[in-house]
Symmetry: none
Subunit: 433 residues, 2 copies
């Protein structure tokens, strides 16, 4: 089987990187009814294997449209992964479209037919229905890719200069089959493949423009590393893409590049290994054997929800008092009514008492408290939408700060208020290390 694949790919042996493309088929994805999760999964594998993923494509279930785009891609790419349209029903037409594009006949593939019989027998089905039999009809000269979890047969077929890998669209079936695909590709590519690595440096508190200015010399200093910025509101992620044939050299340069970024904007960096703020917080709290509680007003539970998205967070997260009403701030968190009267619910004084209250009633070592105006309504001359006060209580002190964010939109403000509070907490518990 592998030998036949070799022969398929032989023509191309120069020491250059292979161009890969991904094609997703299906009306449900084309029309937006279902979100495509296969492409990103496949792209990452292909990229790590050293191919250049040039394009993702998505098209519906029309046989002529599929055949047409297969032909197009076959003239651009060396390696193509196609998902979807291998099922038993009438609207599963990818095999037929592939035969059309390759200009070969659709024939009964004995190996595929045997495998489907096997598969159905294991599930106690004696007879193979016409619908399943259809799944054994594959383009002439195609090579089977085993599907251990379904009746749809994957297959490899060469069209023009490109080698196509056809897989089912069902994510878990596709994922179970990708190792076979990657093994074939690796065996071919390793001979002349480049090493790829990406470092993802996550920051909060610095917008994209100043981050870019701070790093403006990066491109001069690091010729072999591509610098990219990605805004994941309210965070900015700085990405370093390394690629070359010398693994050690690339990793050395990436390390230097990472150090350069830290030098320039380190105070905004909260992780260099893809961790979220809440994951970084969790790790430190576990190391410290310390516990955390939260008091939230305008963020309405978002901070607690982010903290509890982390598996194992029950080890350190005790409680959040989502005290939306002033009464609940007083009755639950024991904030003094005088403080609210004198300074207002959105004030440094109030959040300090909220933080202290959340810490005391739950017996936590640390706590953060947030009160602000998420909007759209509720802004005043003196406290506009986007104003937030954040309090932090630790083993010794209770401190509070007031910020003003420029956004008028409720969900955005909830997001950035929550991120700011978590970020301040992370800095506080880090600094103590």
């Amino acid at each position: 089987m592998h030998r036949r694949f070799m022969s398929l790919i032989m023509p191309r042996m120069e020491k250059i990187r292979m161009i890969a493309e991904i094609l997703t088929t299906g009306d449900e994805i084309r029309t937006g009814g279902v979100r495509d999760t296969n492409s990103s999964y496949i792209a990452e594998l292909l990229q790590d294997a050293g191919t250049i993923v040039a394009r993702h494509n998505c098209i519906g279930d029309d046989i002529n449209d599929i055949a047409a785009i297969l032909k197009e891609i076959s003239k651009r790419a060396d390696i193509v992964i196609v998902t979807g349209g291998l099922g038993p029903t009438e609207d599963d037409l990818t095999a037929e479209a592939a035969a059309k594009a390759a200009n070969v006949k659709l024939v009964l593939n004995i190996t595929a037919h045997k495998r489907i019989e096997e598969f159905l027998k294991q599930r106690g089905k004696k007879i193979i229905t016409s619908l399943n039999a259809k799944q054994a009809l594959l383009p002439e000269n195609s090579i089977i890719i085993n599907n251990f979890t379904g009746t749809a047969s994957g297959f490899i077929l060469k069209i023009n200069k490109a080698v196509f890998f056809f897989l089912p669209g069902v994510p878990f079936e596709m994922k179970r089959m990708m190792p076979q695909v990657m093994e074939y590709i690796q065996k071919e590519l390793n001979a002349f493949c480049l090493f790829n690595k990406t470092i993802n440096i996550k920051t909060f508190g610095i917008p994209e423009t100043p981050a870019n200015e701070a790093l403006k010399d990066f491109r001069k200093k690091f010729k072999n590393i591509k610098l990219g910025f990605r805004a994941v509101f309210p965070e900015i992620h700085v990405k370093l893409y390394g690629s070359g044939d010398n693994k050690e050299k690339i990793e050395r340069e990436l390390k230097k590049g990472e150090q350069f970024v830290i030098e320039k904007i380190g105070k905004y960096v909260f992780s260099t290994d893809g961790k979220s703020i809440e994951e970084a917080i969790g790790e430190i709290l576990i190391k410290k054997k310390a516990c955390l509680s939260v008091a939230e007003s305008c963020t309405g539970g978002l901070i607690a929800s982010r903290l509890t998205d982390v598996a194992g967070s029950s080890k350190y997260f005790l409680f959040s008092g989502v005290t939306y009403s002033n009464d609940s701030k007083i009755t639950v968190l024991k904030v003094s009514p005088k403080t609210i009267d004198r300074y207002g619910a959105i004030s440094v004084e109030t959040v300090k008492e909220m933080a202290d209250g959340a810490k005391r009633i739950s017996g936590a070592d640390y706590s953060i408290a947030v009160s602000g105006i998420a909007g759209p309504a509720g802004g005043t001359e003196e406290k506009s939408v986007g104003t937030v006060c954040i309090g932090i209580a630790d083993l010794k002190t209770v401190t509070g700060k007031r910020y003003n964010f420029p956004f008028k939109e409720r969900i955005m403000n909830k997001e950035i208020f929550a991120a700011a509070a978590l970020w301040l907490l992370l800095k506080r518990i880090k600094d103590e290390d």
Copy 2:
């Protein structure tokens, strides 16, 4: 502005549906580092507007690659939405690529420059940096699409036969700009396109397959209405797509179709007008002048966060006690230690006391309480991951129920536990009407 847009699209006046394509740009998506969520969102809007979404495309940040694919698409499609590459940094090259593809110059767009100045001034920035100024350089003859949440200007540009809408890749910026885009497209399409209307019936509690079964006669009964299902975990949205040249006829049939769906699966329907469960709850509580509190364990604040995503929720939402630890259940919500000892923290008895406690300490009229095992760890023989108990306290009674969901994944369980609790509350307060 709209007049100028008219002139752009004039050439195409036959009464046929327009072909739309979507292009996502960015190395982070091309390489699989980030999953594209824009395409499905945009595709659904375009489909609902009556265009035929023919393809999705994704390409990296290389200016020549972008220019090349823009040219390709400009020969296939009538309407094209492009996202990404409008940021201030050096790897944001979409405007330049668009100019290249359209064979026009990149010029300083005064409107865009003014808007950026305005935007920055509101944020207290007096001077406009060269990087932000770059964002005002747009292809000649392009029309601005306002971006209220960022400095990246969207723009409309005609290339060959196609009208391109260029938008930022940041999802929340793109989503806030799409209404403008759809309004332009609608205005154009309605003039010479079929009447299109979609009804979105949102359900919770019934999986896609049984829903499909229950509605199997729909297609026979309603020839002119396309029936679609969309899984937006944990909800299933039933979509009725009406399309034709007789507006009244389509709307009559849609109404009948909606009634048919309600007859078959009405008990699972929580809105037929696109409202979320929390919006539906808010409307009823405001009508009743009633207040709500929540007690959360495994959902970790997600229920409160969903409730407070609704603008004006402070009118009825008072408090959520996110009591992750047993101690906080006891000290804050006054759950009896005996109850937790005897029945466990995840029990109908405990959630009933949690609901009652949250209601009493906050003086609310209603409350819901949730305690369960989100996983991945913490499951037992008798209470497996996916087990959740939900309590509801209203003006008269406190009731509790235990459910077992089949999922093993933490975030999925948080989502479905929260949805189940909100859904039960909605049914309760509805039934009283």
